[in-house]
């Protein structure tokens, strides 16, 4: 069970959080202009990486804020957390 450093609250037990899938998938601004394939790409296609993965997390039983996390799925080490709208750390 992870200890997650919520960017708003600080370190909390994983049981307070909810995972929300892959991060940085922006909802298209003009969905009606997309082909079926393009829309399907947004709707269905998600990565499942062994290694560094960018994920959305929600402090559901805390401040209820969504934020992003960089996690190495091969060893579950959390490399960084950052607020929504912020650029992912480059290193």
């Amino acid at each position: 069970m992870f200890v997650i450093n919520c960017p708003y609250c600080g370190e909390r037990e994983q049981s307070e959080f909810k995972a929300g899938g892959e991060a940085h998938i922006v909802r298209p601004k003009q969905p009606t202009e997309l082909s079926d394939d393009q829309w399907a790409e947004y709707l269905f296609m998600r990565k499942n990486i062994k290694g560094i993965q960018y994920e959305r997390w929600n402090h559901a039983h805390g401040c209820r804020k969504w934020f992003n996390m960089v996690r190495d799925t091969s060893n579950d080490k959390i490399k960084a957390v950052y607020k929504m709208g912020e650029e992912p750390p480059t290193e």
């Binding site: 069970m1 922006v26 003009q30 969905p31 079926d36 709707l43 559901a60 969504w66 929504m84 709208g85």
Partner: protein, 1001 residues
């Protein structure tokens, strides 16, 4: 004559405190400090159970948690009965009752023992090969297999004991209180770290505390007495917490560990009252030090499983710790120096050691010279080729090993004995380390897996790190600890260490016999009866992966997870397949390290605390009025209110009729309520619902359908515009939390530019829904000043009003198709408001109705219930609700998905009404719908989602989803049931009042 196997008083045993206990119905005595195993051995009982597959007699094999054989049932026929308990871990107490579990009818005469003679036809994978075909025979096979191979009995009554969970946060957790753990804990605590030291045993000091030998010394004292002083010192350190009888079960990521603390199992039953039995510790440690020691390896040779064959370290522990001799004529078989340590302990106590059979040809060991000095014959370069004695070993046969160790040569020598100690070297206990994700490396010299690397938050020390001698332990322990805890020096820098242990070892995974392997029984996994033969057979049959061989042969799949034999299994695979040990990998050791009781796992979350449930403010009224309740999400909802022994069907018929004929009242408080405010509130609703919201006037209500981005219906409910920038949204009862979460998600991540604030007010407001042709009269009695005319207060509108000083929000909305009003008040006034409605409705026979009647009434109108008539595959178009999907709006959640190639298919399942040919016949919800029952295989084209007998229409009605259903209106379909086929006609899903006249009745 009864033998006296208590050899010398041990300081760990209180011989003044005698304890009576029963084993297999017979009364015995032991002393305080004994385990069940040591007390049985003291009574000369080795035979304690039967093996799983062949039912071979099995004896106590070890003196610790790795025990594969002495698995017993505690407290027969009581609510406290517990199966699969290791006799080596049970501390005896007055009144203890235990019995062998894997034998029938008794441990001494076991019918399943015939399997032993049948064993040539019970090879590896026998169960897979035999009982898998024909598949439907499994039930019959299972009966006989289970009867003869029971693995204990589970209790049939509720567990009367108390369990609890506790969180512990510490700087340093040290697992294992042997010499390494004691020193590590002391150094850590003295440095100021909040330290927790845990050990599974009732005493501290591990195997060193019983080491009372001239050959192992620290600062010129025997290592045991040196350690005893250290233990006395650490008990005085304030920031060091010590927990004995505490076994770490699991080591998860981020240094989160689960441990079971045993608090009362060693006490006499009458002293346990009102005490917590076991505690699950949830430990979060900044740093973890594992000092879990090593487990002695057995040796794999023909008939190596007879009662009286024990690990040499176990024989030493029984003698040194419990003062019990395992036999009167002891022989050891070894490939390293450990057996000599044990032999010396026995000799010290005057116990006969007849011989030592050593696989090694040349040994230059002080321990060996000491043994020889005492006239014990040492057979160098020999091995045991067979053993004899059915219920207790009485003879062994030994022969000389060939130079390559693959064969035996020379003549057979028979030696009589009543106990054989075996030692195949040591296996570091790396189980917890690997659970945490730690990787292993293989050390060729002594054929062990050891931790590959240390991290910043975890350190393995002592023999679990592969340090097997006192010198190695002290040197590496101090070096590693200083680095790990970032300290410069310790109290132990100049400690003098004497260790006479010669590390030479002759490792032969499968010892040869004069007989062909096929004629021998060299057990690798004692608990599951897997032999070296089985492993070789699996390899011949093509299995290569260690994980596959494990499952096929069941090696390592017992409750002991193969703590003893896994290494040999790997070794035999490696030799047979010609693969390198280091490259084979190991099987995975999964939590728990030793079995946990269910009680420990659930803690206090039992009975009424198993799950929380939510009650509406009117709950007590429902209880008082004999409501039956239904669980909806975590809510307890009134389901129906039976009167005078009415059945559920009768009740629902009465309630439904009353609601349409006069008046009904429903507690609708459980619906989710979200308060939405902000200048962009209307725009927000436009984006989350399928229909348009900008033009909704203040004071008006609108029904909305919420989709997922994939176009499938997610939730529905009525939202009311309370002000220019203020709405109150209702959601389904079960969907309240997830809808809130989804809305917050979009606001925070996709549309942060919107000025919208969401507040869940589900618990703050409670709701009574009054419906029926007389509802307006009832409402007018409660709110005499409120103009209820259709002009002033039309359907789908809302008024702010008051009962006395209490503010009420009254909505004229309907989920039943009847004229209907919903009164919302602050939750703490809700019960009195409800009672007021009941009072006002009395003259109109106002009838409280529950969720079942609500479902029936809405089904008559063809209103859907999200989650009942929909699953996650229904679009609004599939539901024939095209009218609610705005064509004008540029975008809303899920819009684009409504014209994907798949969602526009004509033959999707669509919601329709279903009428049975026989109007009295009520369909079963979930029943399959077909067109042709003659054409095989029968194609399923849909299923029934809602079905009721409508008292208002006096016929059966149903909703269902059917492929291409919209175009099938009027068509006949078939619903095949177990013993009949029901003919139905596809109909409009609105069965009653299609023109909505009743809303304005």
């Amino acid at each position: 004559m009864k033998k006296n196997l208590r050899v010398k008083s041990s300081k760990f045993i209180d011989e003044t405190y005698r304890i009576g206990f029963k084993f297999n119905g017979i009364k015995y005595y032991g002393f305080k400090g004994d385990t069940l195993a040591s007390a049985l051995i003291a009574n000369d009982i080795h035979l304690v159970g039967r093996s799983f597959k062949y039912h071979r007699p099995r004896g106590i094999m070890t003196a610790g948690s790795e025990e594969p054989n002495a698995i017993i049932q505690l407290h027969n026929n009581s609510s406290r009965t517990e199966p699969n308990v290791r006799a080596t871990e049970v501390e005896i107490y007055e009144g203890l009752e235990a019995s062998s579990q894997n034998c029938w009818p008794s441990v001494n005469f076991d019918i399943g023992g015939i399997n032993n003679f049948l064993s040539p036809i019970l090879p590896a994978g026998f169960y897979y090969k035999t009982f898998m075909w024909p598949a439907n025979f499994w039930e019959k096979y299972e009966y006989f297999i289970r009867k003869s191979a029971g693995l204990g009995k589970s209790p049939t009554e509720p567990d009367p004991d108390i369990y609890e969970h506790r969180y512990i946060h510490c700087d340093v957790l040290v697992i294992g209180a042997g010499i390494s753990g004691i020193i590590a804990a002391k150094i850590s605590a003295k440095k100021g770290f909040k330290t927790l030291l845990v050990d599974e045993n009732p005493y501290l000091g591990g195997s060193t505390i019983i080491q009372n030998s001239e050959f192992f010394k620290l600062n010129n004292q025997t290592s045991g007495s040196w350690l005893e002083k250290e233990i006395n010192e650490i008990k005085k350190i304030d920031n060091l917490e010590i927990k004995t009888r505490t076994s770490v079960a699991a080591y998860h990521g981020y240094n989160f560990l689960l441990a079971r603390e045993n608090l009362t199992d060693h006490l006499p039953i009458e002293n346990r009252k009102n005490k917590t039995r076991q505690r699950l510790l949830k430990i979060r440690a900044k740093k973890v030090i594992t000092a879990t020691g090593a487990i002695e390896r057995p040796l794999i040779f023909n008939n190596n499983d007879r009662p009286g064959i024990l690990l040499s370290s176990a024989i030493k522990k029984y003698a040194d710790l419990y003062g019990v001799s395992c036999g009167e004529k002891n022989i050891f078989l070894t490939n390293n120096d450990s057996a000599y340590e044990a032999a010396i302990s026995l000799i010290q106590k005057g116990i006969n050691v007849a011989a030592i059979v050593d696989n090694r040809e040349q040994v230059d060991s002080k321990l060996l010279y000491e043994v020889e000095k005492n006239n014990t014959k040492v057979f160098k370069g020999f091995t045991v080729t067979d053993t004899f004695g059915y219920k207790r070993i009485n003879k062994i046969q030994i022969m000389q090993l060939s130079k390559d160790g693959q064969k035996v040569v020379g003549s057979k020598i028979n030696l009589s004995c009543d106990c054989l100690g075996i030692s195949g070297g040591w296996t570091p206990a790396i189980h917890l380390y690997t659970q945490s994700g730690g990787k292993l490396k293989f050390r060729e010299e002594d054929q062990v897996f050891i931790p590959k690397n240390q991290s910043l938050d975890h350190l393995s020390v002592g023999s679990c790190n592969g340090d097997m001698t006192l010198n190695e332990i002290m040197t590496n322990l101090l070096k590693d600890l200083k680095l790990f805890l970032d300290i410069n020096d310790t109290d132990y820098e100049n400690i003098e260490v004497l260790s006479c242990f010669n590390q030479s070892k002759r490792n032969i995974w499968l010892l040869p016999s004069d007989k062909n392997l096929g004629k021998t029984k060299p057990f690798v996994d004692y608990q599951n009866d897997a032999t070296a033969k089985d492993i070789k057979l699996a390899l011949r049959e093509g299995f290569r992966s260690i994980e596959h061989v494990k499952r096929y042969t069941t090696t390592g799949m017992g409750t002991d997870q193969g703590k003893l034999g896994n290494m040999h299994a790997l070794g035999i695979i490696s030799e047979t397949a010609g693969a390198k040990m280091g490259e084979l990998g190991t099987t995975t050791f999964r939590p728990p390290y030793t079995p946990l009781t269910f009680g420990t796992i659930v803690g206090r979350n039992v009975g009424e605390f198993f799950d929380t449930f939510r009650k509406t403010p009117m709950h007590d009224w429902h209880v008082k009025n004999k409501a039956k309740f239904e669980n909806v999400g975590q809510w307890k909802r009134a389901w129906y209110y039976p009167k005078n022994n009415e059945s559920m069907h009768q009740t629902v018929q009465r309630e439904s009729k009353a609601a349409r004929d006069s008046a009904g009242i429903l507690d609708a408080s459980t619906l989710g309520k979200i308060d939405i405010q902000g200048t962009d509130a209307s725009e927000f609703l436009n984006r989350v619902y399928t229909n348009a919201w900008s033009k909704l006037a203040i004071g008006k209500c609108r029904y909305g359908l919420m989709l997922n981005e994939d176009g499938m219906v997610y939730d529905d409910g009525v939202t009311t515009r309370l002000g220019e920038n203020h709405y109150i949204m209702t959601t389904t009862t079960g969907g309240a939390a997830t809808v809130m979460g989804k809305l917050e998600d979009y606001l925070q991540t996709e549309w942060p530019e919107l000025d919208v604030y969401l507040t869940s007010v589900t618990d703050q407001f409670a709701t009574a829904s009054v419906c029926g042709p007389n509802s307006k009269k009832i409402i007018s009695k409660i709110f005499p000043n409120l103009d209820l005319s259709d002009g002033n207060f039309p359907h789908m509108s809302f008024k702010n009003t008051k009962i006395g000083n209490i503010s009420c929000r009254v909505m004229r909305i309907s989920f039943t198709g009847e004229l209907s009003f919903e009164i919302n008040v602050q939750a703490n006034y809700a019960k009195s408001m409800w009672e007021k409605c009941i009072e006002a409705g009395k003259e109109f026979n106002i009838t409280p109705y529950g969720t079942e009647t609500m479902h029936l009434l809405r089904a008559e109108k063809g209103f859907i219930i999200v989650g009942q008539d929909t699953d996650a595959t229904m679009t609004p178009i599939d539901l024939q609700m095209d009218w609610i999907v705005s064509k004008k709006k540029y975008d809303f959640i899920g819009k684009r998905s409504l014209y994907r190639s798949d969602t526009i298919r004509e033959d999707r399942k669509q919601l329709v009404g279903l009428l049975t040919e026989n109007p009295k016949e009520v369909l079963e919800e979930g029943a399959q719908i077909v067109t042709d029952i003659k054409k095989l295989p029968i194609e399923m084209i849909g299923h029934v989602t809602s079905s009721y007998y409508s008292p208002n229409l006096d016929k059966s009605i149903a909703l269902g989803v059917v492929k291409g259903g919209k175009n099938l209106i009027g068509k006949k379909l078939i619903i095949p049931m177990e013993n009949k086929n029901i003919n139905v006609t596809v109909a409009d899903p609105v069965f009653l009042d299609k023109e909505n006249k009743r809303l304005n009745a």
